[in-house]
């Protein structure tokens, strides 16, 4: 005859069930003891705002016409220098020789309108009778000035005048430089050491 389970055994099983249930609950609490922050997806957003900067520099910033004189009977010497070669007129003015360079570079992140002006006017700078100070501009790297350069010699004064109205930023520091060419008319009655400051302004 099949023997039924006793009430005592049944009670024991129930007590065991209660103990197991309580233990399971305690284990859940114990296991998640800290805040896990469990996330299955994380999104990051980075925002950046790059401001426009108009900035120019002079990688080469000085021109020196050297030391010489206006040889009699000439009334003046016209000396032109393009940053690499010097030309003279009349031929007797061959003692003047330019050196150095003035190159304007756009090192900002916006195209710039660049002007030029002199600190001293030509009478103060060179002196004498009918002195002259002229400039023109040309690409130092092809296509640097996508606007207008000054292609023929123009009087250089203490007022700002165009040097390059759209000097590009270039890519990887290329095609963003314009070179200054200078021409001085030195009269025979001027003498002494002469110095002037040329200022380039960008906007």
């Amino acid at each position: 005859m099949k023997k039924d389970i006793s009430n005592k055994a049944l009670a024991g099983l129930l007590i065991a069930a209660i103990v197991i249930s309580l233990s399971g609950t305690m284990m859940v609490f114990d296991k998640q003891g800290g805040i896990t922050g469990f996330a299955t997806e994380q999104n990051g957003t980075a925002a950046i705002n790059i401001s426009g900067v108009v900035s120019i520099a002079l990688p080469s910033n000085s021109i020196d016409f050297g030391t010489s004189s206006v040889v009699p009977p000439n009334a003046y010497c016209n000396v032109s220098y393009d940053g690499s070669s010097t030309t003279h007129e009349p031929a007797a003015c061959g003692g003047w020789s330019g050196s150095g360079d003035i190159i304007v570079e756009n090192d900002g992140n916006q195209a710039a309108n660049v002007t030029i002006k002199a600190r001293d006017d030509v009478a103060t700078f060179i002196g004498g009778q009918s002195p002259g100070m002229f400039y023109k501009s040309a690409d130092n790297e092809s296509g640097s000035c996508s606007g207008n350069v000054v292609s023929s010699y123009t009087e250089l004064t203490t007022s700002a005048t165009n040097f390059c109205d759209v000097l590009d930023t270039g890519a990887d520091d290329g095609f963003d430089t314009v070179k200054l060419h200078l021409k001085l008319k030195i009269p025979s009655d001027a003498v002494g050491y002469k110095s002037n400051t040329l200022t380039f302004e960008a906007s």
Partner: protein, 78 residues
């Protein structure tokens, strides 16, 4: 028999088992949803947005540089 557990006691224990089990399960599930943000019971999706704080730089609209021009004129015989 005197040593047998009564049917009444068995019923009380059964009822107690059901109640304890139900409460334990409910508390555990509630706790998991509240604190863990996901579990093997109920997976949730948490989104985290990270902002980068970039200092504001005022735009520069003008600039100025200067170069030098020199020459030395010697006296002549005139």
């Amino acid at each position: 028999m005197a040593d047998e557990v009564s049917r009444k006691t068995i019923l009380v224990l059964l009822l107690l088992t059901v109640i304890v089990s139900a409460i334990g399960t409910w508390v555990a599930l509630d706790s998991v949803e509240t604190y863990s943000g996901g579990s093997n019971v109920d997976y949730g999706t948490a989104h985290l947005r990270i902002g980068v704080n970039v200092p504001k730089i005022e735009p520069q609209t003008t600039d100025s540089v200067s170069g030098r021009l020199n020459l030395n004129i010697l006296p002549n015989s005139n």
